[in-house]
């Protein structure tokens, strides 16, 4: 009997080995076919070898780049239960002339997804072509090192290989492609939306020609929008069998420039597209689709409103009904019959904000499975991974929950839909999921509400939403005006302000400066401080109790495990307190201070309550080298007391793109330096600065009052957007702030 079993196993193994080698052979043959098809293409743009004279000094030039995206289906069309699969196949081909060693270095270690559907061809200046044998490729063990140029638009794969490209030299052309297919099995659905894509067409090298081709099966619908000089589809109605072909060509494209404060989707040629499948033409769909075989390049506000209304109504309500009830219950318990929308909004918002942090504990326990305390500790100390600032409630769930509360409380509201600023304008929306949802509360004092991050207050609107147009709709209303467009307000730099009060004294040896720093931060300026100054379970325990959010611990009933968790939480807190001091110290060092000792940190207010909306903290530390002996006098780096300011370098003065910043903001300093006894201060006039224009300002003053040198300084970014032509105006106040940091004053014996 045993023998038989052995034989059977052996047979199975050998059979599968043969099968594998056969399928391997088939895949090889298929891959060769694809290579022949792509490299054998008659596209003349992929035969070009010359680069125009004006691009000879570039590191590399992309002669031609082509993305071919095929949307296809398999299976019969009969009935909704028929087998059906949909697929999308992406082929990207790039032909790049390498003009210097840097480019050769970039491409000499070539990364690709672990697929056989790839080809690399090297073309020498004399026309010789060599196809690279990919059998010598090796697996990449650290994916983080893969340069972005090798990543796909559409699909993402975790397994990559790399190959050292032989005999690659400046002057060579590298011509390569890869193909990736994704398949979706949809036996029963009647409508399907492929992933939406937003892509900037800008490359890091100049591109002579960039082509994008969509090959779309007749049952599909395509929505596509070209922005910022991206080409439109031409021709619109080319057919090939069951497919419609749409192409776009972008010529003589500049390379992408690396600049600060850029939203690539707003400043570089960008396309957005999405393909939809409807099993039968004209069937009901949530999506704003056009006609079969005809790309839809814009959607009217009516269509947009209809689409988002459909999606809104269809959105999952399980979580909403589960928590919506609890939220309303809490609001009623707190406010009774209160009707003030702002108060109700605040109560519900705070509840949901606490909810965002609470599940962190529950969910992250399982991380290491048998090491719960490690994960708890990590959850509480590693703010980057699990901290509150990275947790956001989904805008859909937030909106629906708030809607349910307002409905119960009979507060008038409309649902707001807007496209985030970094994506684009409302009128350019074309994708199903481009909108972020929120609430617009009606009444004499109308206001917007968007999903919180776990430190924000209701009035602190998500920066991505500020200044954008929003559709306000009433989903349930079948009568009256369908929608209204309203701009989301932009907060001012006074709303988003940081105020630092600094008292500086010197030790007897005049070597160390002691700083008492008192910081108040409000509005969106609080954002970076959520992680660095606030320890999650300082507020979490009380809020979990307040909102009755006690997590249903997975170890419930296992006392030894709970003890481990509790001890983990305790130890994590101790560590967090220590880490906070270390990170504050590091932050000051990054800001140009040579820290002697970091003595104390005290959080005065965490800014989570409406009554105390600011984060406030005080700290004490000593700074080395701020004051230096120069002969009989001392030189004080007075300007450096405000910390380092942005240095606009020479190569940044030329601006290629418009300026998009997250939010307006201001930073204010009130400094009192105690002048050591027996000394007087000279040279303070250079600390007086005043540059103020429409984009922002830097202003500072200095005076001596008694034994104190009193310095004030304020820097404000007044706007969130500026045309590139206004960059010099911004540079004026940025430079003035930098110059301030360079000012030294002299302490002389009185």
């Amino acid at each position: 009997m045993k023998k038989c079993a052995f034989l059977f196993v052996a047979l199975l193994i050998s059979f599968s080995a043969i099968a594998q080698s056969r399928s391997e052979q088939k895949a090889d043959a298929e891959a060769k076919k694809i290579r022949d098809e792509v490299f054998g293409s008659s596209d003349k743009d992929f035969a070009v070898t010359a680069v125009p004279e004006n691009l000879k000094k570039e590191s590399a030039v992309i002669i031609c780049q082509k993305l071919t995206q095929v949307f296809d289906k398999e299976g019969a069309d009969i009935g909704i239960s028929s087998n059906k699969s949909l697929s999308t196949t992406e082929t990207i081909r790039k032909r790049i002339k390498l003009q210097d060693k840097s480019a050769v270095e970039t491409f000499s270690e070539f990364y690709f997804k672990n697929t056989k559907d790839i080809g690399i061809l090297i073309e020498k200046p004399d026309g010789r072509k060599t196809e690279i044998n990919l059998k010598e490729a090796v697996e990449v063990s650290d994916n983080t090192l893969i340069p972005s140029i090798y990543r796909s638009y559409y699909a993402f794969s975790f397994k990559y290989k790399k190959i050292a490209i032989p005999d690659l030299q400046p002057g060579d052309i590298i011509d390569y492609f890869y193909r990736v297919t994704e398949t979706y099995y949809i036996p029963t659905v009647t409508q399907f939306a492929f992933n939406d894509v937003i892509v900037s067409l800008a490359n890091s090298y100049p591109t002579l020609k960039q082509k994008i081709e969509f090959k779309v099966e007749k049952q599909f619908y395509i929505n596509i929008k070209s922005l910022n000089g991206a080409p439109t589809l031409t021709p619109e109605n080319q057919k090939e069998g069951n497919y419609s072909i749409y192409t776009m060509v972008l010529e003589n494209q500049d390379k992408q420039h690396d600049e600060r404060w850029v939203y690539p989707y707003r400043s570089t040629p960008t396309i957005k597209y999405q393909v939809f499948f409807l099993r039968s033409e004209g069937s009901k769909t949530n999506y704003a689709v056009g006609e079969r075989g005809k790309p839809k390049t814009s959607i009217t506000p009516d269509e947009a409103v209809e689409q988002i209304t459909n999606i809104y109504e269809d959105a999952s309500s399980y979580i909403v009904s589960a928590y919506g009830y609890t939220v309303s219950k809490y609001v009623t318990e707190q406010l009774g019959k209160e009707t003030d929308p702002a108060k109700i909004a605040y109560a519900a918002y705070s509840y949901l904000r606490a909810l965002i942090s609470a599940p962190v504990l529950v969910e992250t326990y399982p991380g290491y499975l048998d090491q719960p305390y490690e994960t708890v500790k990590e959850a509480l100390t590693n703010a980057d991974l699990y901290g509150p600032n990275n947790e956001t409630i989904s805008d859909e769930i937030f909106t629906k929950m708030m809607a349910s509360v307002f409905k119960k409380k009979k507060i008038e509201f409309r649902v707001a839909f807007a496209v985030p600023r970094h994506i684009g304008n409302l009128e350019d929306a074309i994708l199903a999921n481009e909108f972020m949802w929120g609430i617009h509360v009606e009444g004499p004092k109308p206001f917007f509400l968007f999903a919180p991050s776990s430190g924000t207050l209701p009035g602190e609107l998500d920066a991505r939403m500020q200044g954008v147009d929003a559709y306000l709709i009433n989903p349930k209303s079948k009568t009256g005006k369908k929608y209204e467009i309203k701009k989301v307000p932009v907060s001012t730099h006074e709303n988003n302000a940081t105020v630092e009060k600094l008292a500086v004294t010197f030790d007897e040896g005049m070597e160390l400066a002691t700083f008492n720093r008192n910081v108040t931060v409000k509005g969106l300026n609080k954002d970076p401080y959520y992680n660095s100054t606030i320890i999650v379970n300082d507020y979490l325990d009380s809020e979990i109790a307040k909102y009755d959010l006690k997590p249903r611990y997975i170890y419930k009933g296992k006392k030894d495990k709970m003890a481990i968790i509790d001890a983990g939480v305790k130890s994590a807190r101790e560590e967090a307190v220590k880490n906070r001091k270390d990170s504050q110290k590091a932050e000051l060092e990054d800001n140009g201070f040579e820290i002697g000792t970091y003595d104390s940190f005290d959080l005065v207010s965490d800014g989570r309550e409406k009554a105390k909306p600011e984060i406030k903290f005080t700290e004490k530390f000593t700074v080395k080298n701020l004051i230096k002996k120069a002969g009989p006098t001392y030189i004080l780096d007075a300007g450096k007391i405000i910390g380092e300011q942005l240095e606009v370098k020479e190569d940044e003065l030329k601006r290629h793109y418009d300026i998009y910043m997250g939010n307006t903001r201001s930073f204010n300093y009130e400094i009192a330096v105690t002048i050591p006894e027996g000394y007087k201060v000279e040279g303070i006039d250079k600390l007086n600065k005043d540059v103020d224009n429409a984009t922002g300002f830097f202003k500072s003053t200095a005076k001596v009052e008694g034994n104190q040198l009193i310095i004030t300084a304020s820097k404000a970014y007044k706007t969130i957007y500026e045309k590139k032509e206004n960059w010099p105006e911004m540079v004026k106040f940025l430079d003035e702030a930098y110059k301030f940091t360079q000012v030294k004053v002299v302490l002389k014996k009185a």
């Binding site: 000094k57 570039e58 590191s59 003009q99 060693k101 840097s102 480019a103 050769v104 270095e105 000499s108 270690e109 090796v138 650290d142 790399k162 050292a164 032989p166 005999d167 690659l168 030299q169 390379k255 979580i319 599940p359 962190v360 529950v362 969910e363 399982p366 290491y368 499975l369 048998d370 090491q371 305390y373 490690e374 500790k377 989904s394 769930i397 997975i554 001890a567 983990g568 305790k570 130890s571 101790e574 040579e594 080298n625 230096k628 002996k629 120069a630 002969g631 006098t633 030189i635 606009v648 370098k649 020479e650 190569d651 000279e682 040279g683 250079k686 360079q742 000012v743 030294k744 002299v746």
Partner: protein, 647 residues
């Protein structure tokens, strides 16, 4: 994070929790032990109570015949000694295609095995600069849940090729009360065990016989402090105690003796067997070589054209897979691929030089990071290959992995290193030259005057040695479209206060001599102008200003190369002003480094001169206090100002 995934996690985890094994709580004795150990090792989280390692040897057979294998069995008993909470213990064991790791087990006290405990994972080991290698690591991790928590872990490592069994280091990144390593050496095996860097440590060697008559040599090392990772530390073989294994010979079952590496000649013989097996086909590189030298008249010109061609055209891409780690790739393959590792590049250069009529040889060596010479032969001595050119009774050491190095120059990392040069069936030993710090001279001369509160003038900077090759190489690799900006940023130190213009450079293709930059310079914000005085900082580089050593550092500090910077800045005193204060001079000269800063008034000029040198590229730990004191003085001088007062 969606709520859906949260709920999913609840469900998915339940079975796993039920399975994980609970380790017994720390005993009061272990808690006390932890307290005692913490007093000894106050900065460590865990300590090893005892690490026991044993090596045994066996004669085995495979398709290619008999061979000697080595088995390492190791058990490390870990105790958490610090913290109110929890730590994760993690360690990794290296292996490659000639070795394997197995049998990882975890134990509680009383040797009670903990199953479904800890985590074990095998991963590729990515070494910086190596494109692909067979090096892997076995990662072991487990939780420790408080002081006094005891866990032991055990593993076995098998070396299938005794030639790669070269050394054993006692230290871990945590302290150890006792490390006991024993070698059970059978009669048929002849090896010597040499304790290196044992001075200052409590390491005892004992020798006994086993029942079978095998010799058992045991080294017991007591009370070892943690070996902490520190930046710029010298190679471990310089300072950590370790057992270096001299593999001499073994006798097979038939009674035949096989040499391993009893003498350096045997090591060479093995290397030679590998180089003999290179299927070089010089005909494939002949035309290129002849083309390179055809218009060259002198030998030196010919050598340079070939040497530089290989530097410029062959990229360093290393595959360290099995024997490819030792055997050079054939010249025609490296030539056609245009890439190779050091061995492939050295071999190509050698073959090209031979075609050109020169006497060129392959040469093995260990870079500075390796402490060994050829006294005791071992494959651990060498980690690099270059080509030695013999001409007019002189040896020239040519390393094509050093991009832009000139003929006659030798990179710091291979200076003063013992090398083994091929000589047919024989070999020669030699030592590469060592250059003084002047090789790396960086010289800066600036003539300033004051204009509109700025320091304005003309400057000249020159670089030689490592600084030169670094700049030339970096420049060659920078994108052509930003090359000009890059040079500007190099010269203006990427400092907004410094503007430079009219930059003139020497020919960057020429690797001989120094490279230099002449330019106009204007420096802002260096001058504080009061009514009657001007306070001026004329040195804006302030090198080493913050370069002090932490008192907790345990190892010498090694620079990439020695350093020599000479700077002279002149400032014309504006009419109507006189100098009322000059910063004090600093002069600190030691055998390892020196700092000399001086201000002088010469006529209507203030002349500032500064000489900084790191003479041997290393600052020994013994010098740290003195160094820190010297830096303090240097900082003071940097902070001080030149004061000009109205007459």
């Amino acid at each position: 994070m969606t709520y859906k995934s949260m709920i999913w996690c609840f469900i998915a985890l339940l079975p796993f929790i039920a399975n994980s094994q609970v380790r017994p709580k720390a005993t009061p004795e272990d808690v006390q032990l932890a307290k005692d150990l913490l007093k000894k090792y106050p900065t460590d989280d865990v300590a090893s109570l005892k690490k026991t390692t044993s090596f045994t040897f066996a004669l085995e057979k495979n398709k290619s015949g008999e061979y000697v294998s080595v088995r390492q069995k190791e058990k490390d008993e870990i105790l958490q000694i610090k913290g109110s909470g929890y730590v994760t213990y993690g360690n990794s064991i290296g292996f490659d295609s000639t070795s394997s790791v197995s049998g990882v087990k975890f134990f509680a006290r009383k040797d009670r095995e903990l199953k479904t405990f800890g985590s074990i994972k095998s991963a590729s080991y990515e070494e910086n600069g190596i494109f692909h290698s067979d090096a892997k690591i076995f990662q072991v991790a487990f939780p420790m849940d408080g002081p006094g928590c005891y866990t032991a872990f055990e593993f076995e490592k098998k070396y299938n090729e005794i030639k790669y069994f070269t050394s054993y280091y006692f230290h871990e990144y945590y302290p150890a009360e006792l490390v006991s390593v024993s070698y059970e050496i059978p009669k048929w095996l002849d090896i010597d065990l040499i304790l290196k860097n044992g001075e200052g440590y409590d390491i005892k060697r004992t020798e006994t016989k086993s029942k079978e008559g095998n010799t058992i040599i045991t080294f017991n090392a007591s009370k070892l402090k943690a070996n902490k990772q520190e930046s710029n530390a010298p190679g471990a073989s310089y300072y950590l105690p370790h057992i270096f294994v001299h593999l001499k010979s073994y006798t097979d079952k038939a009674g035949k003796k096989h040499d391993l590496f009893p003498t350096t000649a045997n090591l060479y013989a093995w290397y030679r067997s590998l180089t003999k097996a290179i299927d070089n086909d010089p005909s494939k590189i002949r035309a290129t070589t002849e083309g390179l030298i055809k218009d060259k008249k002198t030998n030196e010109e010919k050598i340079e054209s070939i040497f530089y061609w290989v530097q410029d055209n062959i990229r360093y891409i290393a595959f360290e897979n099995g024997i490819a780690g030792f055997k050079p790739d054939a010249c025609q393959r490296v030539y056609s691929k245009k890439f190779g590792d050091c061995k492939g590049m050295a071999n190509l250069l050698k073959e090209m030089l031979v075609i050109a009529g020169f006497d060129a040889r392959l040469t093995w060596l260990g870079t500075r990071s390796i402490a060994y010479d050829y006294t005791i032969p071992s494959v651990a001595i060498d980690n690099h290959m270059i080509c030695t050119l013999m001409m007019d009774g002189k040896k020239y050491f040519l390393d094509t992995t050093e991009k832009f190095i000139s003929f006659g120059d030798v990179a710091h990392r291979i200076q003063n290193r013992p090398v083994m040069i091929e000589d047919g069936d024989n070999f020669q030993l030699a030592t590469t030259p060592e250059f003084p710090k002047e090789r790396n001279k960086r010289e800066t001369t600036i003539k300033f005057e004051i204009k509109n509160d700025k320091l304005v003038g003309k400057a000249r900077e020159s670089y030689d040695g490592e600084g030169k090759t670094y700049i030339l190489h970096a420049y060659s690799m920078i994108r052509s479209d930003v090359k000009e900006d890059a040079i500007k940023k190099l010269i203006n130190r990427d400092n907004k206060n410094i503007s430079v213009s009219n930059i003139k450079t020497t020919d960057f293709e020429d690797r001989r001599g120094t490279i230099s930059f002449d330019y106009d310079i204007a420096v802002d914000n260096q001058l504080t102008d009061l009514e009657k005085e001007k306070y001026i900082t004329i040195d804006f580089d302030q090198e080493f200003k913050n370069f002090t050593f932490d008192s907790t550092r345990t190892k010498d500090y090694e620079y990439d190369h020695n350093y020599y910077s000479v700077k002279k800045i002149e400032l014309t005193i504006p009419a109507g002003f006189k100098v009322t204060h000059l910063p004090e001079a600093v002069e600190k000269v030691t055998p390892n480094y020196s700092f000399k800063l001086q201000y002088k008034v010469e006529g209507n000029k203030v002349v500032y001169s500064k000489i900084l040198s790191i003479d041997k590229a290393i600052i020994p730990k013994a010098d740290f206090t003195e160094w820190n004191e010297a830096i303090k003085k240097v900082r003071k001088a940097y902070g001080d100002q030149l004061i000009l007062t109205k007459i």
